[in-house]
């Protein structure tokens, strides 16, 4: 470096040639451009809103909504304020997300694993499903399920009775359900709790068997007891009500899943599962051939090779992209408004239409979906940590 003239006298030429100066300068310039653009657009928005006499404000959330909503998890009346209507929408979105994630995981993994099946038909079906469903827009599939599949069900007067346990008609699907919401929540909690406990017991048993080579009988007994307790709670504790057909059409009792909900759920699950199936397939293929061969050499059958050796290793590749599929599913629930399912986006459009506050409502909408997706990421990152290689 030949900057011996530096120090007191300021050498502009030398500075302009200095790489370090430009590194800082470019960052500063970029920042200024971003801030200037943002402030210009926000200022423009504010000016335009003021010009039309509408200052940016969220006070409208407290005024009376005045419209009715078809289905709701929480108590809702047309006299309730807009924020409560939006909560109803959020609740409906969450039921769609929860059902969607659970069923997508199941169907996606089954379809992905099936693509490795030695059975010609199962293999081809899996490939056909992925090839067909992945290449058709979700909105079309929503309309297809809503109008062509569930729309083809008969009128309530000629509804289909499934073994006296469930009913199908063009208004929805009626299934047996706990007699109260509290019991239903308890039942779901018991099922999740039992599943976690069972998984933990099973891992403990495997660990003991690996460490000592024998035993595991006590854990097996505990597992059986756990299963029996769970079965008892579910069969006896839930006070099940079974839907009953009414003379002349219609159903009482049980749980009604509206046609809008089942159509939206079906479309979302079938669509997202096709992507999940490819992720699972890629994950399994990422496990080196040597692992398959080594497992087979040990005398494991095909199912055990997959379950004990290959799949646990594939999980490392599967979990990260699953995160984005779950997020896609969450955001795609907003398309269900096209088939009249009253989810968050649907309620929000009604709200901004009645109040004339699109900017405020969209801020609420974006924040809601952002928070939902961040929560999913949080959970998935935790899960990812547990399946990665343990450095010892």
């Amino acid at each position: 470096m030949a900057h011996d003239s530096g120090g007191k006298s300021f050498d502009l030429k030398a500075m302009l040639r200095d790489e370090r100066f430009w590194k800082i300068a470019f960052q500063v310039i970029t920042l200024i451009v971003v801030i200037a653009l943002l402030s210009f657009f926000l200022g423009n928005l504010n000016r335009n809103l003021l010009q039309q006499g509408r200052a940016f404000s969220f006070n409208f959330l407290l005024s009376q909504a005045g419209f009715s909503i078809g289905e709701s998890l929480i108590q809702y009346l047309p006299t309730d304020p807009y924020w409560r209507a939006l909560m109803v929408g959020l609740g409906n979105t969450l039921t769609l997300v929860a059902g969607g994630i659970a069923l997508t995981t199941l169907l996606g993994v089954v379809a992905g694993v099936s693509s490795f099946s030695k059975n010609w038909l199962v293999h081809k079906l899996s490939r056909l499903y992925v090839g067909l469903v992945r290449n058709i827009p979700l909105l079309l599939q929503l309309f297809f399920w809503y109008f062509a599949i569930y729309g083809a069900l008969p009128q309530p007067e000629e509804q289909i009775n499934v073994l006296g346990l469930a009913f199908l008609n063009n208004r929805g699907v009626y299934i047996p359900w706990a007699s109260s919401a509290v019991l239903a929540v308890l039942g779901i909690a018991a099922t999740v709790g039992a599943a976690i406990a069972a998984l933990w017991l099973w891992q403990w048993r495997t660990k003991i068997r690996i460490d000592t080579g024998v035993g595991g009988q006590a854990q097996l007994t505990a597992l059986a007891v756990l299963g029996l307790v769970w079965l008892a709670i579910i069969t006896l504790g839930m006070n099940w009500t079974v839907p009953e057909g009414v003379e002349g059409g219609g159903v009482t009792g049980g749980l009604r899943l509206s046609r809008e909900y089942v159509a939206a759920l079906s479309a979302l699950v079938f669509y997202t599962s096709a992507f999940v199936a490819e992720i699972v397939r890629a994950g399994i293929q990422s496990v080196s051939k040597g692992q398959w061969e080594a497992a087979r050499t040990l005398g494991l059958n095909a199912g055990m090779v997959m379950r004990l050796v290959v799949f646990p290793q594939a999980m490392r590749v599967i979990i990260p992209p699953m995160n984005s599929e779950y997020m896609n599913l969450t955001k795609n629930t907003s398309l269900a408004f096209a088939i009249a399912f009253p989810e968050m986006y649907s309620i929000a459009t009604t709200t901004y239409n009645q109040t004339g506050r699109p900017v405020e409502v969209f801020v609420v909408l974006m924040a809601t979906y952002l928070i939902l997706c961040l929560l999913i990421t949080l959970v998935m990152n935790q899960l990812n940590r547990t399946v990665q290689f343990k450095e010892r």
């Binding site: 423009n44 309309f143 009249a340 009645q354 004339g356």
Partner: protein
């Protein structure tokens, strides 16, 4: 020391850039605000952008030859003829019920002529200006003839299809609340999907403005199997809409609409407007711009109403050819007749 010098130099550049940025922002702002009102925008563009529904026969729809037709469309044409002297200088934007107000206040369309009901909250809190009503309507209910439903009370436990973002959605809730009838609303964003769901049996009833139900019934698979209930659930004055705080443009839309009604009252039609050249009736002479400065005062050609009537016709002609006796719907004039004939169509004086 050198590092500090670098940072100072970078900061200096920051400030300079900042100054530059502010000046450009100011310049842009000046440009947008000095652009003036919507009237100047439309004139310099040479074309009117009009928001319509596009799917309601009789009001706004695309015919076999691909041209827009209907009562709402003719209002767009009238405004274009008044401002630009050419009724065909219109670009139509199809808007659904949820997009329409955002498109209007965002400046995407100049005027909205899309079965929009005039209500106080839309006029005030949504920030719109309502031009005179071009169609007095009421909310009705369409049911299947064999459903056995004869009144709103029969809807207990039944489903009703409705389009979102409309006054009908709110009126329905109010009516049913008053009658304490527990019903299931099935709310569609798209009118086509709503009518499709109704016609294949998802809902026992379909509610909307009566004129729209009559028009839509004609597009259902078996129009004879559907009937309108003998109830009117609300007042639905439909008309063109502009945004708040642009009086000059609002005046143009307002007085063009009034002009259509006034022309019918004067008995001026598209066919006979030329014969009023040099008329000795001072009211008509002023109206057609042969005397006075009614048009130029508004920033329009003085003969703007003569252009409108010659190219589009008066209100009575528009009504009869789109929804009245000359159309397949054959709706009675009823409330939409002139005030002199027992209706509600009344224009303030042109003077």
């Amino acid at each position: 020391m050198r590092k500090l010098g670098l940072l100072a130099a970078a900061l200096g550049l920051t400030l300079a850039a900042c100054g530059g940025a502010t000046t450009t922002t100011d310049g842009d702002e000046g440009a947008t605000s000095s652009g003036g009102g919507r009237l100047d925008v439309v004139k310099s563009r040479g074309q009117l952008i009009c928001g319509v529904d596009g799917g309601i026969p009789g009001f706004s729809f695309v015919d076999e030859s691909g041209t827009y037709m209907g009562l709402d469309v003719d209002v767009c044409k009238a405004v274009a003829a008044a401002v630009l002297g050419d009724a065909e200088a219109v670009e139509y934007r199809r808007l659904d019920s949820t997009e329409r107000f955002t498109a209007l206040s965002g400046g995407e369309v100049d005027v909205l002529s899309r079965n929009t009901t005039w209500t106080i909250s839309r006029d005030t809190s949504v920030g719109l200006e309502f031009a005179p009503t071009t169609f007095f309507d009421g909310q009705g209910m369409l049911v299947k003839t064999d459903s056995g439903i004869t009144s709103l009370e029969d809807f207990a436990g039944k489903a009703i299809c409705v389009e979102t973002g409309t006054t009908t959605e709110l009126n329905l809730t109010d009516q049913m609340r008053q009658l304490t009838v527990d019903f299931e609303p099935v709310v569609f964003q798209d009118a086509d999907a709503a009518y499709a769901a109704y016609s294949e049996g998802r809902c026992e009833g379909m509610t909307s403005d009566k004129s729209q139900l009559v028009a839509r019934r004609s597009t259902l698979p078996n129009p004879d199997e559907h009937v309108l209930l003998e109830v009117t659930m609300s007042k639905e004055p439909l008309g063109p809409v502009t945004t708040n705080n642009d009086s000059a443009w609002f005046d143009v839309v307002k007085w063009t609409t009034y002009g259509l009604i006034q022309a019918e009252e004067f008995g001026i039609t598209a066919d006979n407007v030329a014969t009023f050249e040099g008329t000795d009736n001072p009211d008509i002479a002023r109206f057609l711009g042969q005397e006075g400065t009614l048009g130029t005062d508004m920033g329009l050609p003085n003969d703007f109403m003569a252009q409108v009537i010659a190219q589009v016709g008066n209100y009575g002609e528009i009504y009869e050819r789109n929804v009245g006796a000359d159309s397949e719907f054959a709706l009675e004039r009823g409330q939409n007749a002139l005030w002199t004939e027992g209706g509600l169509m009344y224009s303030p004086p042109f003077r």
